[in-house]
């Protein structure tokens, strides 16, 4: 059974239909890279999966929870579906460790000591053991994004959604974030990434999804899809960005 199942999802902002019937199945351990032009609906799709956006028809089932129904328990869903944002969105009034500890202590009612131990573990995983007590303003963009990843990991998510997480970074800081994501992929974390990093999508992804005009235009194994795009739109897209 798939971990995330998306069936014929449609979503409009006013008169503008951004998702025109998207279906996608994501199994445990998949590393799904979603690529496409801006405005193709990739980010919107990702945001529908954890209920940050609502959709008009179709269905999304994530970790056995139907997202978007009137009675959806979003809190339960989000305990298991983490998200990392383009703009990091760290809490500026809290240190790195406090950022990581917040959800475990508040939502999961874990003790401070236990949460701090978890924070130390996940911050070590992203290579920031020495920065536990630093405030976000004292960190570089790459470091902030790694704290944001650690903050999601502290909730032990079953799926991690990554929304263009390297797009706001200076070029020299992109790799330190990608290395962390790659390590997570190797450890078997289920990842859904909206990304512009084509090389990363090809080398680390287990599944590639090309979105075009609100639809899944082409999908498959990244290396095969990149080597021989079937549709002219993807050929053109790969030619421009690759």
């Amino acid at each position: 059974m798939s971990l995330v199942s998306i069936r014929d999802v449609r979503k409009s902002f006013g008169a503008n239909e951004v998702l025109k019937g998207v279906s996608l199945d994501i199994a445990k351990g998949d590393v799904v890279a979603i690529i496409g032009r801006s405005g193709s609906g990739k980010s919107t799709l990702l945001r529908c999966i954890n209920g940050l956006e609502t959709y008009q028809s179709g269905s999304i089932i994530a970790d056995g929870i139907e997202v978007g129904g009137a009675s959806t328990n979003l809190r339960e869903l989000r305990r298991h579906v983490g998200m990392v944002f383009q703009q990091f969105n760290l809490f500026p009034h809290l240190t790195a460790a406090e950022n990581v500890m917040l959800a475990p202590t508040v939502v999961n009612k874990v003790s401070k000591a236990e949460a701090r131990a978890t924070a130390a573990e996940v911050l070590a995983k992203v290579g920031l053991s020495e920065k536990m007590d630093a405030y976000p303003s004292e960190l570089s963009g790459g470091q902030q994004q790694r704290v944001a990843i650690a903050r999601s990991l502290a909730m032990r998510p079953k799926v991690l959604l990554c929304d263009e997480i390297t797009s706001a970074l200076d070029p020299e800081l992109v790799n330190e974030v990608l290395r962390v994501v790659e390590q997570l992929a190797r450890e078997g974390m289920t990842l859904i990434l909206v990304t512009h990093e084509m090389r990363f999508a090809r080398d680390v992804g287990t599944k590639l999804v090309f979105m075009h005009h609100g639809k899944v235009h082409e999908e498959g194994v990244p290396k095969e899809v990149f080597a021989a795009p079937r549709t002219p739109e993807l050929q053109q897209f790969v030619g421009q960005v690759g």
Partner: protein, 216 residues
């Protein structure tokens, strides 16, 4: 006839000033508590609660404070309850203050970037938890200066309580004027005392505002 020296006038005014301060503090603290509750309702995205707070705020911001004092003083008496000037003034000033503070604070909450809401939502925090741990700690830093600034309005607003017979600074001034027939002296002193109460607050508010601007 009883003679009032300058010092008699001043000391009587200062005694009455205590009541202006007490009424201001109560109105400000109670108004702050009610205002905080209203703030949670106003930003809850629950239509009925938002609608209620909107009407509440429009009413207390859109009608004169004096009329509100009359409504509480005379209005409640119509239902057979004995209302002292003290109770009426406290209630009216509390509700009036809460309406303004809610709007000031809502502006501060809305100045927090949307990403903070999204990130905390994605971490499974509930609305109350988001406000408590993520939004308010940041919004309150911005809110200090305008809130202190508004406290000046509350102090000046208490002067209206004199009209329903509450003896605070303004009322004491009126009574002393009736007894001494020295309006210029009496009301100059009244104004000076109000200024001494208000100026430090507005000066402090300016200072905090400047400090926040430097921090950015």
């Amino acid at each position: 006839m009883l003679q009032f020296s300058f010092w008699d006038i001043l000391s009587n005014l200062l005694i009455a000033t205590q009541w202006t301060i007490v009424l201001s503090l109560i109105a400000f603290v109670c108004g702050g508590i009610v205002g905080l509750a209203l703030l949670f309702m106003r930003t809850s995205r629950i239509p009925a609660l938002e609608w209620f707070t909107k009407v509440y705020i429009e009413f207390f911001q859109g009608t004169p404070l004096l009329m509100q004092l009359f409504l509480f003083f005379f209005g409640i008496a119509l239902f057979g309850f004995e209302v002292s000037p003290w109770t009426a003034a406290t209630l009216a000033l509390t509700f009036w203050t809460s309406a303004f503070l809610t709007e000031v604070w809502r502006g501060c909450v809305e100045s927090i970037p949307k990403g903070q809401w999204e990130a905390s939502s994605s971490l499974a925090l509930s609305y109350i938890e988001q406000m408590r741990y993520v939004i308010l700690p940041q919004a309150s830093r911005i809110a200090v200066a305008p809130t202190v600034g508004f406290s000046v309005q509350v102090i000046k607003g208490t002067a209206l309580a004199s009209i329903i017979g509450f003896v605070e600074l303004t009322k004491a001034g009126t009574m002393l004027n009736n007894a001494t027939f020295r309006p210029f002296l009496v009301y100059s002193l009244v104004a000076l005392i109000y200024f001494c109460l208000c100026f430090p607050l507005s000066w402090w508010a300016k200072k905090i505002e400047g400090r926040l601007n430097v921090a950015r």
